[in-house]
C-alpha cells in the first residue's frame, strides 16, 4: 500500500463540506447561532444544562427547558489535528485543522468544535478559548473557537478550571 492508500475508506461520501441540517430539536440552537448567540438548553425542573439539544432532560426527563445564552468562554479538554483530507476533498485547503472538545465555563457543557489558530503546534490541553461565529455559504452560522488572550481569560475562568489546577492557581 502507498503511504496514504486505505485512508479513503473512512471518507464521508460528500464532495463539499458537511453542513448541519436544523431539525425539530435543534432549530432554536441554529437560529441562535444566526444571531451570534450560543444558546444552551437548561432544564427548568432540575437546572441541568445539556448539549446537543434534545427533547427531554436526560437527568430528570422533564420536557420543559429554557435556552440560556452562554458567553462562549472555556478551555480545551482535548484536541486532534487533521493533516489529511479524509473528511473529503473540500477540507484539503484547510489543512492542517484542529478539532477540539471545549468545556464551556459558564454552562459546564462539552462542545465539539474547531479551534481556529495559525499554528496547531501551540494548541494544548487547558488552552483558554472563546466563541467565534463562522458564516457558511448556506446562511447557517457555525460556532467555532479562537484562543483567548491570557489577560481576558483571567476574568472569565472559574477557579476549578483545568488550567488553573495545572498551574496551581
Amino acid at each position: 500500500m502507498g503511504s496514504n492508500a486505505g485512508v479513503d475508506m473512512w471518507k464521508c461520501h460528500t464532495t463539499s463540506k458537511q453542513q448541519p441540517l436544523p431539525d425539530e430539536d435543534s432549530q432554536i440552537f441554529w437560529e441562535g447561532c444566526r444571531r451570534q448567540r450560543l444558546l444552551i438548553q437548561q432544564c427548568d425542573t432540575c437546572q441541568t444544562f445539556r448539549f446537543p439539544p434534545s427533547p427531554l432532560c436526560p437527568a430528570c426527563l422533564s420536557g420543559v427547558s429554557t435556552w440560556r445564552a452562554d458567553p462562549g468562554a472555556g478551555e480545551v479538554l482535548t484536541f486532534c489535528v487533521y493533516h489529511t483530507e479524509i473528511a473529503g476533498p473540500a477540507w484539503q485547503p484547510c489543512l492542517p485543522y484542529v478539532v477540539a472538545v471545549v468545556r464551556l465555563w459558564w454552562s459546564g457543557v462539552n462542545m465539539l468544535s474547531q479551534l481556529l489558530c495559525e499554528d496547531p503546534q501551540r494548541v494544548y490541553i487547558g488552552l483558554p478559548v472563546y466563541i467565534a461565529f463562522d458564516v457558511r455559504p448556506n446562511g447557517l452560522i457555525l460556532p467555532r473557537f479562537l484562543p483567548l488572550d491570557a489577560a481576558d481569560a483571567g476574568e472569565l475562568r472559574p477557579p476549578n478550571s483545568e488550567l488553573s489546577q495545572e498551574r496551581g492557581a
Binding site: 503511504s3 496514504n4 486505505g6 485512508v7 475508506m9 473512512w10 471518507k11 464521508c12 461520501h13 463540506k17 458537511q18 453542513q19 448541519p20 441540517l21 436544523p22 431539525d23 435543534s26 448539549f51 446537543p52 436526560p58 479538554l77 482535548t78 484536541f79 486532534c80 489535528v81 487533521y82 493533516h83 489529511t84 479524509i86 473528511a87 477540507w91 484547510c94 492542517p96 485543522y97 478539532v99 472538545v101 468545556r103 462539552n110 462542545m111 465539539l112 468544535s113 474547531q114 496547531p120 490541553i125 457555525l142 467555532r144
Partner: protein, 386 residues
C-alpha cells in the same frame, strides 16, 4: 459452576479484503454457510437467526432477508445494532434464547462490503451519531474521536506515540501468520514512526481500515454439544455496559480515559468466576491502537494510566500472558465489527490457530466497542473436555 449453558459449536469466515463485485449479502451468506458446515448440523435445525444490518444498504427486516436466502424458517429472528459490540451482544442474546428454551441452535452472522460497496452510491449511508454537531467541523467517524481520546490519555499519563506503535507492530506480527488477513507485510517500529501524523496524535498504522468480509458463529446448548462428543467452546460469562452516550456525541466520551469496558469486563469475569490473571488470550476490539491500550487498563491487565508502560515492558511479546489480538485484530487481520475476535478466540481454545497458537490456552476474553467507547460488551470463553 457454569452460569450460562451455551457453547459455540461452529465458526465461519468469508474471504476478506478488497472484494469488488461481492455484495454484503454474498459475504454474509458465505460466512453463515461456513459456520453451519463447521458446526456439522443440518441447517433445518437452526431456529434462531441474529444478524447485523448493512451499514451501506440498510435493509428493512434484515434478519428475515438473511434467513430467506439461507432457506431457514426460524422461530426467532432479529437484526441487532450495537456497532462493534454487536457480535458479543449476539452471543448474549443467543445464550438467553437457549436458556429460556426459545431456541436450540442460533446463527449469529455479520457481513459488509464497506470497502467496495456499490450500495453506498445508490442509497447513501446510515446516519452516524450527532452528525450535525460533529461532521461540520471536519471530524471523521471512528479515527477522529479516538485521536481526541488518545491525546487526553497522553496528556494525563505520559503515553506516547511509540507506545501505540508497539501495539500496531505486535498485531501485525500475528497477522503475518494468518492465512485470511488483509495486512501481511511485516511492520517495524521504525516504519511505524516514519509515517507522518494523519490525525495527530495518530499515524497511519494506528488506524483500522475497512475491508469487505463476513463472519458467523453457531451457538447451541452446552449439553447438546457434549452429547455429540464435540469439544465445544463454552460461553462462561457475557455482559454489556452502556456509558449513557449515543455512539457520538463523542465530546463527553473522549474526555474521560475510562471506558465502559471496566463495567462489562467486571460483570463478565464475575459471571465466569475468573479473574484478569486467568486470561490466556485477550481479543480486544481495536478501531485504533489506542482502543487496545485503554482496554488493557480497563480489563485490569495493568493499572489505569499504565497502559503505555505496560506495553513498553514487553507485555505484547510472544510468551507473555495474556496474548493479545493473536489474529491481528481490526488493525491487521480484518475489520469485521468484532466477529473476527470471537472466531480467533474459538480457534485458540480449540487449539487450531496454527503457528499463532498460544500453548495451553484455556480461557479467553473477547471485547467489543460500539460507537466511541459508548457501548462495551465482553464475553469470557472457555475450553472444555468433550
Amino acid at each position: 459452576m457454569p452460569v450460562t449453558s451455551s457453547a459455540i459449536i461452529g465458526i465461519g469466515e468469508s474471504r476478506v479484503g478488497r472484494l469488488r463485485g461481492m455484495s454484503a449479502l454474498h459475504l454474509t451468506l458465505d460466512a453463515a454457510r461456513a459456520a453451519i458446515q463447521d458446526a456439522g448440523i443440518e441447517k433445518t435445525v437452526i431456529d434462531g437467526v441474529l444478524t447485523r444490518n448493512f451499514d451501506m444498504d440498510v435493509t428493512y427486516m434484515h434478519s428475515q432477508l438473511i434467513a430467506k436466502h439461507l432457506g431457514l424458517q426460524p422461530r426467532f429472528a432479529t437484526d441487532m445494532g450495537l456497532g462493534g459490540a454487536t457480535a458479543i451482544a449476539m452471543l448474549e442474546q443467543a445464550t438467553l434464547l437457549i436458556a429460556t428454551g426459545t431456541c436450540r441452535f442460533v446463527l449469529c452472522v455479520y457481513g459488509e462490503n464497506r470497502r467496495t460497496s456499490w450500495a453506498a452510491a445508490r442509497h447513501g449511508r446510515i446516519k452516524m451519531g450527532q452528525e450535525d454537531f460533529e461532521e461540520c467541523y471536519g471530524l471523521t467517524w471512528g479515527m477522529g474521536p479516538h485521536a481526541l481520546a488518545a491525546q487526553r490519555h497522553m496528556h494525563l499519563f505520559g503515553t506516547t506515540s511509540r507506545h501505540l506503535g508497539m501495539i500496531a507492530v505486535a498485531q501485525r506480527r500475528y497477522a503475518c501468520q494468518h492465512p485470511n488477513a488483509t495486512m501481511r507485510t511485516p511492520l517495524t517500529l521504525d516504519a511505524y514512526e516514519r509515517e507522518p501524523l494523519l490525525i495527530a496524535p495518530l499515524r497511519k498504522y494506528d488506524l483500522a481500515y475497512l475491508f469487505d468480509g463476513g463472519a458467523a458463529v453457531v451457538v447451541a446448548a452446552h449439553a447438546w454439544a457434549r452429547a455429540q462428543r464435540v469439544c465445544p467452546v463454552v460461553i462462561l460469562g457475557v455482559a454489556q455496559a452502556h456509558a449513557g452516550e449515543h455512539l457520538g456525541y463523542c465530546a463527553n466520551m473522549v474526555t474521560v480515559t475510562t471506558t465502559p469496558a471496566r463495567q462489562s469486563g467486571a460483570a463478565a469475569l464475575g459471571m465466569a468466576g475468573v479473574a484478569s490473571q486467568d486470561i490466556d488470550v485477550a481479543l480486544l476490539y481495536d478501531d485504533t491502537t489506542y482502543g487496545v491500550l485503554v482496554q488493557l487498563e480497563d480489563y485490569g491487565f495493568c493499572r489505569k494510566g499504565e497502559g503505555g508502560r505496560y506495553v513498553a515492558s514487553g507485555a505484547l511479546e510472544p510468551g507473555r500472558r495474556p496474548a493479545v489480538n493473536t489474529h491481528g485484530g481490526n488493525l491487521s487481520q480484518a475489520h469485521l465489527d468484532g466477529m473476527s475476535h470471537i472466531i480467533e478466540a474459538v480457534r485458540q481454545l480449540r487449539g487450531t490457530a496454527g503457528t499463532r497458537q498460544i500453548d495451553g490456552a484455556r480461557t479467553a476474553l473477547v471485547s467489543g466497542f460500539g460507537g466511541v467507547f459508548a457501548t462495551s460488551a465482553t464475553v469470557i470463553l472457555g475450553r472444555t473436555a468433550a
